[in-house]
């Protein structure tokens, strides 16, 4: 592959994509409040601008203007860097997700992803695991009972479900024979999208992914009735905002990964729409996440752990084994 793609195209692309991701994050908070409001028969935010559309901007201004409260007993360097680490890894993880087939504009090649590295899937999981540090260290460094409990719960939960998450993807890797997300999308071009042959893998991936992003019904790390707010109890102002951003961007990345692995990425019935297909599918997956949050009650902690280790892990392993047998046999 010899692409004529100078560094400044990469820079422009990176700038556009990162701002799009942040825009989706900002309006995801609005859509979530609006949808949950409607599902609970209330209006949701409707004061700032038409339909409350300026709510994310108002929230941002408010968060920046708020006092950055700092608990006296907190460990300062760790307390301040933790949200930055979380937000950075969440944003950086999006760089390997392909959103289009690539275009040619005036002799230059524009690839449909920011970084086409061969090990993109491993890189994505590595960044995700690294982001957990932010949650754990942040909760530990703020030196409060609820933060500490919340971060311990986060740690145990994320670590347990990461095993199932990584194993559920194994079936897709076996079928595609590559760790590069671009190759995985290309291998879905001719045949069924992997959602059909890897149906069990998709279900395991979706459940483990919900737990991995601390979404309901797996939002035990921040169960507000028990733990005030979990690991970010002591955070306020923009530092709290960064944690919130990390969570939502993680969710967007996970939806993007889900679409890439199981729903054919940018592929769709009509070719020219390209990236729009990807965006549409991601928004649909995000909507399902919001829907689940309003519908399902929270699990108990022992149920959560035993479900992860006793149900998801064996199912994911068996799925990988059967897929391996079929891949070799066919």
């Amino acid at each position: 592959m010899n692409l004529n793609e100078p560094w400044w195209i990469d820079a422009i692309k990176a700038l556009v994509i990162i701002n799009l991701v942040l825009g989706v994050f900002a309006y995801m908070t609005w859509v979530e409040r609006k949808v949950i409001g409607r599902m609970q028969q209330r209006y949701g935010p409707n004061r700032t601008g038409p339909f409350g559309l300026l709510q994310p901007i108002a929230d941002l201004v408010k968060l920046i203007r708020k006092e950055s409260f700092f608990p006296g007993s907190a460990i300062d360097v760790l307390y301040i860097t933790a949200p930055v680490v979380s937000a950075f890894t969440a944003l950086a993880a999006f760089s390997v997700i392909p959103f289009g087939a690539g275009w040619q504009v005036g002799g230059y090649d524009i690839t449909g992803q920011i970084a086409n590295v061969q090990i993109s899937l491993i890189l994505l999981f590595a960044l995700g695991s690294f982001g957990i540090y932010g949650f754990i260290v942040g909760g530990w460094a703020s030196d409060s009972k609820y933060s500490l409990l919340g971060s311990m719960r986060t740690c145990a939960q994320l670590v347990s479900y990461e095993v199932s998450l990584a194993l559920s993807v194994l079936g897709v890797i076996l079928m595609a024979g590559s760790l590069s997300l671009v190759d995985i999308v290309h291998s879905q071009e001719a045949d069924w999208w992997y959602a059909v042959p890897q149906f069990i893998g998709l279900i395991v991936f979706f459940i483990a992914g919900t737990a991995e992003t601390n979404r309901a019904p797996f939002d035990l790390p921040e169960a507000e009735q028990e733990l005030v707010a979990g690991y970010h109890t002591e955070y306020s102002g923009m530092r709290f905002g960064l944690f919130q951003m990390a969570e939502y961007v993680n969710l967007i990345v996970l939806s993007g990964l889900c679409v890439t692995l199981f729903f054919g990425g940018w592929l769709g019935p009509w070719e020219p729409l390209g990236p729009l297909w990807f965006v549409l599918k991601v928004l649909l997956v995000l909507f399902v996440f919001i829907w689940m949050r309003t519908t399902l009650p929270r699990l108990r902690y022992d149920q959560l752990m035993s479900f992860g280790w006793k149900v998801l892990l064996p199912v994911a392993t068996l799925n990988a084994l059967v897929t391996a047998a079929l891949v070799v046999a066919l």
Binding site: D10, I18, F70, L91, A115, L174, E234, T317
Partner: protein
């Protein structure tokens, strides 16, 4: 090869700059209390504070989970490279995979029967 990583570095720098700038803005524009009192900075404990939990003890299950994670995550580290080359290698690789997962399955059953998967 290294060319592939340049876009990632550019993007990574942006991804780091955005949270940092947001944090910087909150330093620059945040409202500050006119005078600081010590009681404001104690950690939140639902009203009654007994001081920070410096030496709080934890359920052993949290540590057990961490150990289990190491066992099963290493398994995945081994399986990913094999999964990429499984189709060219054919049945040999499949039996290797089955053997590996079989040993792990024995360990899994042992862990389960020992009660390590039970949350206490």
């Amino acid at each position: 090869m290294l060319d592939n990583w340049l876009p990632f570095l550019i993007y990574g720098a942006l991804a780091l700059a955005i949270p940092l700038s947001m944090l910087g803005m909150s330093f620059a524009f945040a409202t500050r209390p006119s005078h600081r009192t010590k009681t404001r900075t104690i950690p939140f404990e639902s009203g009654v504070s007994q001081g920070p939990p410096r030496l709080q003890r934890f359920t052993i299950s949290f540590y057990l989970t961490a150990l289990l994670f190491i066992v099963f995550d290493i398994e995945i580290v081994f399986l990913y490279p094999l999964a990429v080359v499984l189709e060219p290698l054919g049945w040999f690789a499949f039996w290797e995979l089955t053997f590996f997962l079989g040993i792990l399955g024995v360990a899994y059953v042992y862990i389960w029967r020992k009660g390590a998967l039970e949350w206490r």
